[in-house]
Point group: C2
């Protein structure tokens, strides 16, 4: 895997060159892309060429862009046959931003169909018989396979944190709205959030910090021990034994390293909010993908077609009430965060499931996406079958830096332990 922070430093110090970085990526891609299928479109040469004429803090760094984000010079199919051969008229705002900051767009990466459930062909670099997770499958797998040091994904349920967990990398979903969303093929406007993948926490933080212009970088910092709340959620019984153990291990290591660790039960409003997530998502998706449903229903997967049909039946008053539940849960969460710095909770029910038929479950992610709060997968632990086992840190709304610092700190412990 390539560390974005390390590469950026080496470029600045003259220790490596754009040419050398692209050669490393090209070699990894040549060796493994046939197995991994991270890309829908590869633009190695174009990215290298534009990189040579660009400058900025992301200078020389190849960036993978999930194929639900528009690029003016590459096809964008959004994981759907409906958009096969479609080339957008403009770059997505976050893509324009990345280019301006010096990044080269190395290619578009595989997304599930419209970032929902129907999987693409991508395989898990740790074991190609397993899913890499989704919906940001290619952006996560490509980091783990060493194809690029940074990539962009999006999360509506668990589409950044889960694939990061399955691929053993850092996947950071900032506070809702911190990265601009124009040019994203929207699934659910109240939920869709752009996130950043990197090898480790400092890499994802570096990418997100640079793109947002915020002081989120954690490389070179030595943060103090945070106050951690272990949160099981009402879904704890859905977590595998290994995952429960992973959360306990992380908590124990943190405590030993000086963190105050408490176990916190979420109030009942959070299981209501879990249900509200689906009402909001499905109602909005039915509207956002109205054209595709009305004109191209036969080209939609069955799961999406049924979801959109059901979403269309959701009454405005039930949607409003789901939004009110979400607001109430946000207020409650805000109050809870008075007592601790970050929440420690599973990134997924377990390690990456076997097979490519599903990208796994987002049940441990949805509520945090709905809350709009920063979440990050902290890599470092492994399952018995040699797959990454990720734990998640969740921060308070707008406390992205504090969340990243805690994740950086915890990652150090997990690495030493691993």
């Amino acid at each position: 895997m390539l560390s974005a922070v390390k590469l950026a430093r080496e470029i600045e110090a003259g220790g490596t060159s754009v040419e050398a970085i692209y050669e490393t990526c090209a070699a990894a891609i040549a060796e493994r892309e046939e197995t991994i299928s991270a890309f829908t479109h590869l633009a190695l040469d174009e990215a290298r060429k534009t990189a040579e004429n660009s400058h900025g803090p992301l200078f020389g760094l190849p960036l993978g862009v999930k194929d639900n984000l528009d690029t003016a010079d590459m096809p964008a199919a959004y994981g759907s046959p409906i958009y096969e051969g479609h080339t957008p008229a403009a770059d997505a705002a976050v893509v324009a931003l990345a280019r301006r900051l010096g990044a080269g767009i190395i290619g578009k990466t595989v997304t599930t169909e419209f970032a929902f459930f129907e999987p693409g062909p991508t395989r898990n670099p740790w074991n190609p018989l397993h899913t890499p997770g989704g919906s940001s499958s290619g952006s996560a797998a490509g980091i783990a396979a060493g194809f690029f040091p940074l990539s962009l994904g999006t999360q509506t349920g668990g589409s950044v944190v889960r694939p990061a967990a399955f691929c053993g990398i850092a996947g950071f979903k900032p506070t809702y709205g911190r990265l601009p969303r124009e040019g994203l093929k929207v699934f659910s406007w109240s939920l869709d959030t752009i996130g950043v993948f990197g090898k480790g926490v400092e890499d994802a933080a570096f990418g997100a910090a640079t793109l947002t212009g915020r002081n989120w970088r954690v490389d070179g910092t030595s943060p103090g021990a945070p106050h951690i709340a272990v949160v099981h959620t009402h879904l704890w019984k859905e977590a595998s034994g290994e995952m429960r153990q992973a959360v306990e291990t992380a908590a124990r290591l943190a405590e030993k390293a000086g963190a105050k660790v408490s176990t916190v039960d979420l109030p009942g409003i959070f299981s209501d909010a879990f249900a509200a997530h689906q009402v909001i998502q499905d109602h909005e998706a039915a509207l956002a993908l109205g054209f595709e449903f009305d004109r191209h229903a036969a080209s939609l997967s069955q799961v999406l077609r049924e979801t959109l049909a059901a979403g269309r039946e959701i009454l405005p008053e039930d949607y409003d009430s789901a939004q009110e539940t979400a607001r109430e849960a946000r207020r409650s969460l805000g109050d809870l965060f008075g007592e601790f710095d970050v929440i420690l909770t599973p990134s997924a029910p377990g390690a990456a499931p076997n097979g490519l038929g599903s990208t796994g479950s987002s049940i441990f992610n949805r509520i945090w996406t709905l809350m709009g709060v920063p979440c990050i997968n902290v890599p470092g632990l492994m399952s018995a079958n040699a797959l990454p086992l990720g734990v998640q840190l969740v921060g308070a709304y707008g406390q992205d830096r504090k969340t990243l610092l805690a994740a950086h700190w915890l990652e150090g412990l997990l690495k030493k332990h691993g």
Copy 2:
């Protein structure tokens, strides 16, 4: 002008036909479009043809669509030479919705450049030497000219309420987010709100109710007198003598008809929020239009280029602080609305200014857009130079029906008075 409610009723009763409605529109367009320039693209025949094969509550009704909303079968230039000849891959969500409900898209209507300040060629149907207002210039002028009975616009500052005022029609901006925004060329995601134009309040309400599936229709209702707060805002001195008089006239008529009318001073946070509107808008526009600024700066108007350049200099912390000011003002406004049903305030500083060089000022609209609350221009009063003089009603967040009922009630009084 064509009343959408009347036409829908007549179609249902067999009193008119799709053919007859389109003939009426076609005749008005043939007579006046050369002067008015409401359309960027006219699709009379296609709309009529698809209308004959459709059904639903908007069956037979021609709909004008502002040219910052995508349609899969018509060009969308967003008021910018950058997008000349561009045809989107999909219908905007609200366009798909309108088609599904039976409407025919009669054409795309003139918007200012990216719905910002640089005017298009549209003229005011009441006096072609005057602006129709903007940015939804064609959608408002086309209603006033009898080109179509319903149209869609968008408001970021005052782009629905102001052109409605200048054109003497009803322009309704619902609560933020009530009409889905996918396929809108976004200028500022925290502000952009889709709105509906119609001849009168009941027509705009009918369109918005049908599109949202909410009980917002007010035709056939006899609402009671509301409790009205007259709000001058800190910009009252910017209103013309005629406009101040119009607000006073509306207040006096309402009081005589049984309304409780009080004059309410807004707390100081609202002038801070007025300033915050621009910080939020410009910061977001610089991100949303990053591609256009980076790649096509020479094709942008000077005013937009300068605004985007300035927007790029706004620091994230100043943006965050502007958003915090907005949240605080929203809470304060929510509290104020405990004391009354609707706010009565100018729709614009006065009647439509002379000339086409500017679409007028949005200073009396921006704060309400930022608050995300429903606003509507109530037509009926006239200026000394025979131009419409609109007053605005503003409701509480989510109280769209109550706002529309009050507007329907007030419109009845203004009509009788006029």
